[in-house]
């Protein structure tokens, strides 16, 4: 039945050749049919992976032309406005890539855009993983790797941003110097070792270059490999749906569907980055001019992913203490060192904190709907709002300029908002989640509201309900109700004091914080009764189906179905009834 082409024959013999040496067919037999669940949000991680590949490819191309040197040269390329000006070789070679290498500008812009997309997609991917609880056992390690990858992504971005040695990137380095210098005890030496002396020196660009093209990408590559191996071993999580349980994976096999979709998607991401890189100018370093430590342009903005740090620096009050002849710069230390340190540590530790608080030791492969974990969702939205406020702070000058506002006013607003808005967001989000849970409960008990109002022969008005689809039923009933941990006893029945009381009590309180408010799923009997009720509605509505225009009437959601000769308004109806 099957026909074999010469190419396939060659392929088969290659497979055999490799198999005899590596035993690779065992791997193929197990994995060509490996099932991958489908959901649009699973593409976010793919975008991160593919944009990283684009960054690597374009980056290698750029290394062929870029010269990481701070030796001063006189520019003599084809960009006329800078002709004859002294600048570092790094800047001159970046201009050369932009104006004298055909396609160089395209690759440079693709590299920059892909890097921005890389960090952005990692962040959004992380949101997905967080809000669906995909980080829970057994995937805690992979969450940590994810946090490390985001951090490395920021490092890769920042070191790359600094390389062209234009006025903007140099300003970024100047700020980094100030931050390093603020670290107590070792900061001054740290800055001198990093820059090879005072700022700017002549060492920083070659040093950042080796970090940017070797150390950081090497680490990212290693981490990405681990990340994917773990996804492969643990199998992908899946969203709840008909037939989907914690013990199975429902989706499409690797060969051919997933291969075509994921492989095709790589080309989509690559293609879109190339289109953006060709069409949309980014980081026009030729406008900023070469770096010099006594010049700066107004409206200096870092790449978006550094914005939150920039914002934190901008809105911090000017605290500095002098202790026995030594200076502690809280105004830099808190926003640029301590705050991000806490932020990323808390991010990495979150799965362990949640598991401890909730006492949850089960394996989870079926994703949570965010509404079914209101406290987690609230904490997530709270953190995002905190991050966004910092981010907004990073552009306070742009906002002040665009909206004609006072920059001091914006800064003061943000200083206060940073402590007021996130807790409010937590409360609002949790309320919304619980509201959605109530709605789900209603749907299980009463089916869908159709908006079709029926008047029954005895005058009663009802709104016809329809039963839930199989999919909705499965999705809604995937919720697990969890009781918070009980308050621990102070002593056991024999009166022996519970030495662990304080720890257990804290845990119980946190557990109540997590699970205390919950709208439990109705029991199976209640759901059944609800569905029976829905069936009753359907039976009442059945005679309508005999009308010629029944379909049209059904489409008319929110309207009222009138029998001919019925009162048209409420007033008429009332009068009718009074008679």
């Amino acid at each position: 039945m099957t026909t074999t082409s010469p190419v396939e024959k060659a392929g088969a013999s290659t497979a055999t050749y490799v198999d005899q040496r590596l035993g690779s067919n065992k791997f193929l037999s197990r994995n060509l049919g490996k099932v991958f669940p489908d959901h649009w949000s699973f593409m976010l991680g793919e975008i991160a992976l593919y944009s990283f590949i684009v960054v690597l490819l374009t980056g290698v191309y750029l290394t062929l032309f870029f010269k990481p040197s701070m030796v001063e040269v006189v520019y003599n390329g084809s960009y006329v406005p800078l002709k004859g000006i002294e600048m570092s070789e790094a800047y001159a070679s970046t201009l050369n890539i932009s104006f004298d290498v055909r396609g160089g500008m395209l690759i440079r812009q693709m590299h920059h855009w892909a890097a921005l997309i890389f960090v952005a997609s990692m962040s959004v991917h992380m949101f997905r993983v967080f809000f669906t609880g995909a980080f829970r056992k057994p995937r805690e390690f992979n969450w940590i790797i994810g946090v490390v990858l985001v951090t490395l992504g920021l490092g890769a971005g920042f070191t790359g941003y600094s390389l062209p040695d234009d006025l903007l990137s140099g300003t970024g380095l100047q700020i980094i110097r100030g931050i390093v210098q603020s670290i107590p005890v070792i900061g001054t030496w740290g800055a001198f070792l990093l820059f090879g002396g005072e700022f700017p020196g002549t060492d920083i660009i070659p040093r950042l270059y080796s970090l940017h093209i070797l150390v950081i990408p090497g680490l990212i590559l290693a981490m990405v490999t681990l990340h994917l191996m773990m996804v492969f071993t643990q199998k992908h999580t899946q969203f709840p749906g008909p037939g989907r349980t914690n013990d199975n994976v429902v989706g499409y096999p690797l060969m051919p569907v997933y291969m075509a979709k994921a492989g095709g998607f790589f080309f989509i991401v690559f293609g879109i980055i190339a289109l953006i890189g060709g069409l949309v100018t980014i980081n026009p370093i030729w406008i900023f001019g070469p770096f010099t430590p006594d010049q700066v342009s107004a409206g200096s903005q870092p790449d978006w992913y550094i914005g939150f740090l920039e914002g934190a620096l901008r809105m911090m009050p000017n605290w500095e203490t002098n202790l026995a002849g030594f200076t502690l710069s809280w105004n830099i230390l808190i926003p640029a060192v301590i705050m991000p340190g806490i932020l990323f540590t808390a991010l990495g530790a979150y799965p362990f904190i949640e598991a401890w608080v909730t006492g949850d030791k089960r394996e989870h492969h079926l994703l949570d709907r965010p509404r079914n974990a209101p406290t987690r969702t609230g904490l997530g939205v709270m953190s995002i709002s905190f991050y966004l406020l910092l981010f907004v702070g990073g552009g306070n000058d742009i906002i002040a300029d665009a909206f004609d506002l006072s920059i001091n006013g914006i800064t003061w607003f943000l200083r206060i908002a940073l402590f007021v808005i996130p807790p409010l967001m937590f409360v609002f989000t949790r309320r919304i989640c619980l509201g959605l849970q109530r709605r789900d409960r209603d749907k299980l008990l009463h089916g869908y509201e159709t908006g079709r109002v029926l008047r029954l022969p005895h005058g009663e008005f009802i709104e016809a309900h329809e039963p839930l689809s199989i999919k909705d039923m499965a999705v809604i009933t995937s919720k697990t109700d969890i009781a918070p941990l009980p308050v621990p006893p102070k002593a056991d029945i024999d009166g022996v004091k519970n030495k662990q009381f304080r720890k257990q009590n804290l845990r119980s309180k946190l557990s109540h914080f997590f699970y205390g408010e919950n709208i439990p799923l109705p029991s199976a009997a209640e759901i059944e009764a609800g569905q029976a009720h829905v069936a009753h509605d359907a039976a009442l509505e059945a005679p309508l189906a005999s009308y010629e225009d029944a379909d049209e009437l059904r489409q008319f959601h929110g309207g009222v179905l009138h029998h001919p000769g019925m009162p048209e308004t409420n007033a008429e109806q009332l009068a009718d009834r009074k008679e």
Partner: protein, 350 residues
């Protein structure tokens, strides 16, 4: 959409509502599954995408050779852009995109869209394998004598702990003091090349400045006259990064205070240009309020009042440079700054 008939036809209720075997989940056939004409149409769609991709690569090569790199075109929304970059980006991007679009259309329309099930296996190792691993470890421990030979164990741990030290120590010379290794970073940061009698010159043209060159309300960015020479000698921009100043002139009556008595010259004040927050150069000056605003983090300094901080994250006022004029009537520095300029650091005493 709610499919009443399918749901109704299913009959018996599953154990947990909605949880039925995957095989029983209703599945709607696609047009291409039932209509061979539609399937043929999709086949044509997919292959024309691949064909177009091929043509675009040809177009890319043509554009690469044919378009001069300096040609500029105007495109609405995007503005003035390099024709070569646009053409290469469009042809390359679209050709790659079409490969992806074709593959996905193929997968979505022609490949089976019936979901399949695979069971997960518990990740935890079976008890006997864990026991075997533990036994192997015990045997290894016993055979090596790791537990018995205390001295070997301790010295080995010590040796392993110390082995990275040389690697770290060698990082020490990432920087060494240029003046025969005697100056510490803090000392270097504390001085600039300004000294008594050093002429003040403009930062771009290096021309000396006379007081009458600077009108009231004016601002000039300036550097020491010897800067070019020092820069040439040191081969870097370090001296410039510390010595850059701004000169502003105001009505002497408007000066509320300054950092030293008579440090101005007829209302001309010299301040460091390097922000005391994290070191951005500042030249945004509002002459009416005498405020100097840092473009990086918006620290604002009042130059009429000792360069004090009036807003923003900077903790210290801008250091002032005492100035005067020499016998030829040019502005000169009367001394170096009296405190380190730029961002704070640990060893700073004030």
């Amino acid at each position: 959409m709610t499919d009443l008939t399918t749901h109704g036809a299913h009959g018996s209720e599953p154990t947990r509502p909605g949880h039925l075997p995957v095989a029983d989940v209703p599945h709607v056939l696609r047009v291409a599954d039932t209509d061979p004409k539609a399937a043929k149409r999709v086949e044509r769609q997919v292959s024309s995408m691949f064909l177009l991709s091929i043509l675009l690569v040809v177009a890319f090569v043509v554009a690469y050779i044919g378009i001069d790199k300096s040609t500029v075109v105007y495109i609405p929304v995007f503005g003035e852009v390099g024709a070569s970059t646009i053409a290469l980006g469009l042809t390359f991007g679209a050709s790659v995109l079409l490969i992806g679009a074709g593959a996905i259309q193929w997968a979505k329309k022609l490949m089976p869209d019936v979901e399949v099930v695979q069971m997960r296996h518990e990740l935890v190792s079976p008890a006997d394998e864990t026991a075997e691993a533990a036994a192997n470890y015990e045997r290894g421990k016993e055979e090596s004598g790791f537990a018995r030979y205390k001295m070997i164990r301790r010295t080995m741990i010590g040796a392993m702990a110390l082995f990275p030290i040389p690697l770290v120590i060698m990082l020490r010379d990432l920087w060494s003091s240029p003046v025969s290794g005697t100056l510490s970073p803090a000392e270097i940061l504390s001085t600039t090349i300004w000294k008594k009698g050093e002429r003040i010159v403009t930062d771009a043209t290096y021309l000396p400045v006379r007081p009458e060159d600077l009108p009231v309300g004016g601002l000039v960015s300036a550097v020491p006259a010897s800067l070019q020479e020092v820069q040439h000698l040191e081969g870097n921009l370090n001296a410039r990064g510390k010595a850059a100043i701004i000169l502003v002139r105001m009505d002497p009556d408007e000066i509320v205070s300054q950092q030293g008595d008579g440090w101005d010259y007829q209302g001309i004040l010299a301040y460091s240009k390097i922000c005391t927050h994290v070191g951005c150069p500042i030249a945004l000056y509002e002459q009416r309020t005498h405020h100097l605003l840092c473009p990086c983090h918006q620290s604002t300094f009042d130059l009429a009042n000792s360069g004090n901080v009036v807003f923003g994250p900077a903790a210290r006022n801008m250091p002032q440079l005492p100035i005067g004029v020499d016998s030829e009537g040019y502005l000169i520095a009367m001394d170096d700054f009296s405190e380190p300029i730029g961002p704070s650091f640990w060893e700073r005493s004030k």
